[in-house]
Symmetry: C2
């Protein structure tokens, strides 16, 4: 399909005073200027953060399907609290899709050589048939690379590599990771194995533990097992892990990790202030949006904080980030390989049944969106 | 009283399997060696952290007074949980008293010139008639300085100055402080005024607010007032305060501060991740030992952590710490002046009524212990 012959189509999410609407909208893409190219988007992962932007504080189980002009849209009524929580985005028509990949179909004069090549993009608005974007937001892959294989080149890979940069910059030598059977968790296992870094992976089921052990994970704990806290303490002492990355947030898990670290490094000579060893857990996700609970069992030298990949990359600076990106390109089929349960089309994103299924997915399961598909998936 | 003519007397706290005992014990001080001096302790503040070491997880309201050999001691029965929480100090006879001041009464050969001088000491074990200690742990005051006026030369003053070092080192420019009517809070008001730093002081009563305003505090908020959160947000925006120091810990206050900061610095262009401004609250006290509650209203760039003066001073290094100490000596009668409600003797520390009164004291009220007093206070 030539992008000039018909209007572009993209997914939109918009909050008004009493509803959130998810719809497909036509727009005019415009011509590529200066350093811009036009990409036919063929693969974009549906990450938890994408679902977060699409539905925000709304409850998709209350979605009503409406049809107009042959197009379906979802309308979700909002109560006052929900509308208030999304006041900052009121009346903005937002196109979700943090990252993706596709084929260059047009370019400004100076980038014409890129036409036909596969690029991965990190620039938002990827749930769209076509995307006009600066080459600075793209990562060029070798000729013939399938877009599906490099659709997740940024969010998960740069988060994993960012964890290791933070670890080194802040003087830690080993890691604890939660919700560790996710695509991201599997990447972290592979990268830590390659780099010789000790990693303690915390999961929530025996199946998840087996999945990680099958790819070589050395230290896997199920937080539902009896004796979990004691075993975590022992592994922390053995590995020297004083830094944790937590995808969950809500509840006591971050505190449990800090407490295990505090117990592992309790000084031999009594001090009422406990260990002087610096212990940190970064919360980088919101699988549970409830309150993060920190009990005072963590000693005096502890920290909990937010960790956002984009902020961390900005702090690292472009030279260091470029090195990380080149590693992603080299290892996209190995360390940074993503697994998807199914490929869906743009129309599937306004199918309430499928949406509810995606949101309820277990860790490690994920959909891939191909906006170039016509109609819903077969 | 010459310390050689009778045994030394000190307060002791000791945990066994089912009880905590607070008693007065005699010991032999020994001769000053190498770089040591002997100080007659004449003033030592009863800080919350001192009460924390003395009573730990025990409940002083359950204290039983016992007498033996003409000396009274407190015996507090412990349940399993309480005993477990203090397992690390079991059977250790600990002498409390983090800091204090007194007169040098003896010294090793090389420090004989110090005899008769007033020194402040930071070395623990100050609830003792005499203290043998290295000169490195002492701060020499001008001749004639009253020990009571420099008894609190370390814990509060170095915490206040440490806050400002952390502020500068971590790139913040203004501060939020809680439980701000404390002795420490008053010092912080004075130092921030002197140094031209904007400070938002959070208190819990109109009396506390008036107390701070009387010494020149510009921005005082009562957390019990209606509209507190909104006013905090406005003041944060006005001052640019992105760093908080919280003495309380338990409950939602640290999160309320971070949330106000997040709202004050919400970007004009919508981002689902909120502000990129780094927001930090350090918890440096435990006025409330309950769970610290962090709701997910804090955006992505936030941190909560423990802040301990001793750890921070160790990180600063001795050259920077020496500069801070010299400022304390210069300003001990102005910025770092402490107020005490009453002076008590060693025997008063085993008076259950007085102990319960001390523990229940309102912010800003504090006792001064003079171990050189004979018998309980008049």
């Amino acid at each position: 399909m030539d992008y000039r012959q018909s209007p572009n189509l993209s997914l939109r999410t918009k909050v008004s005073s009493d509803r959130l609407e998810v719809s497909l909208e036509e727009d005019d893409l415009g011509e590529p200027q200066n350093d811009e190219i036009v990409v036919r988007v063929e693969a974009s992962p549906v990450n938890p953060s994408d679902l977060g932007l699409i539905f925000g504080a709304a409850d998709p189980r209350r979605a009503i399907v409406k049809e107009a002009g042959g197009r379906r849209r979802l309308v979700i009524p909002l109560d006052e609290r929900q509308a208030g929580a999304m006041a900052a985005r009121r009346d903005l028509s937002l196109c979700p899709g943090l990252e993706g990949a596709g084929t260059v179909v047009d370019a400004s004069k100076r980038h014409e050589a890129l036409i036909g090549r596969t690029v991965a993009i990190f620039g938002g608005g990827m749930y769209s048939r076509f995307r006009r974007i600066s080459v600075d937001d793209c990562l060029l892959y070798p000729e013939g690379t399938a877009p599906a294989s490099c659709a997740s080149s940024f969010v998960n890979p740069l988060t994993v590599l960012g964890f290791l940069e933070t670890m080194r910059d802040e003087g830690h030598k080993a890691l604890v990771h939660t919700a560790a059977a996710s695509n991201l968790g599997q990447m972290l296992v592979k990268v830590c194995l390659a780099d010789g870094i000790d990693l303690i992976s915390i999961v929530r089921s025996p199946e998840q533990a087996r999945l990680l052990e099958a790819i070589g994970a050395k230290h896997v704990l199920n937080s539902k097992d009896e004796g979990f806290r004691g075993r975590l303490k022992d592994l922390v002492r053995e590995t020297g892990a004083t830094l944790g990355f937590d995808a969950i947030g809500g509840g006591p898990l971050a505190c449990d990790i800090l407490t295990a670290m505090e117990r592992a490094f309790t000084p031999k000579t009594f001090s009422m202030y406990g260990s002087v060893v610096n212990k940190q857990v970064y919360v980088y996700g919101m699988l549970d949006s409830k309150t993060i609970e920190i009990r005072r069992t963590v000693g005096a030298a502890w920290g909990v904080g937010g960790w956002l990949m984009m902020n961390r990359m900005a702090a690292l600076g472009s030279a260091r980030v470029d090195k990380l990106k080149q590693r992603v390109v080299r290892e996209i089929d190995t360390s940074f390989r993503s697994n998807f349960n199914a490929t869906i089309g743009l129309e599937d994103m306004v199918d309430p049944e499928l949406v509810i299924k995606m949101i309820g997915l277990e860790t490690g399961a994920k959909y891939l969106l191909d906006p170039s598909l016509n109609g819903p998936r077969p």
